[in-house]
Point group: C2
Chain length 122, copies 2
Amino acid sequence: MDPDTVAKAFVEHYYSTFDANRAGLVNLYQDSSMLTFEGQKIQGSQNIVTKLTSLPFQQCQHGITTVDCQPSGAGGMLVFVSGNLQLAGEQHALKFSQMFHLMPTPQGSFYVLNDIFRLNYA
Amino acid sequence: MDPDTVAKAFVEHYYSTFDANRAGLVNLYQDSSMLTFEGQKIQGSQNIVTKLTSLPFQQCQHGITTVDCQPSGAGGMLVFVSGNLQLAGEQHALKFSQMFHLMPTPQGSFYVLNDIFRLNYA
């Protein structure tokens, strides 16, 4: 599979899991994984998922606008996403940008080593 | 210097060079460098600077809103930026997001291995 196809498949899997069962994201991170969420730095899969599941909204729906990817060296892949985040009960969607650094696992899959998320305030 | 300080210094240098003398950015890239600009993939310092200097505006001013950074492994550093791009003669600034993967040089400095840029359309 070419990198763009892998990136798009990852992004679809990530956000559909986020929207349906946020706790299920734990499998995409490892102990070395880092998340910077709106400037807050969090490390390790459990801490990251604790943060994501404690965000102050229950239901949400991500819409993807763009997905760009590049090889990062050493087998890794950088994935850069822009999109919209619709929170349940809110009239207007929020715009966001997010980047992931995916690293290969011995099983031939990928995990998220780096994750940086920002809302783009209008 | 801590990574956040390095990232902020890089970002200030990058955008002040972009706004004052775009051709001077050539020193920040190498032959292996990749730029994805609004979805268009470009490789190599000369090709990248040719793209940046041929953008359809002469004068611009970047304003930085947020800078986040994380170590990417293997001595590299991921820098994620959001900000505003004011083009000369335009009333409204454009919002953008950009990520850089900085890699160390033997001289103790950094070059840009990966660069992904997107405008955030309202």
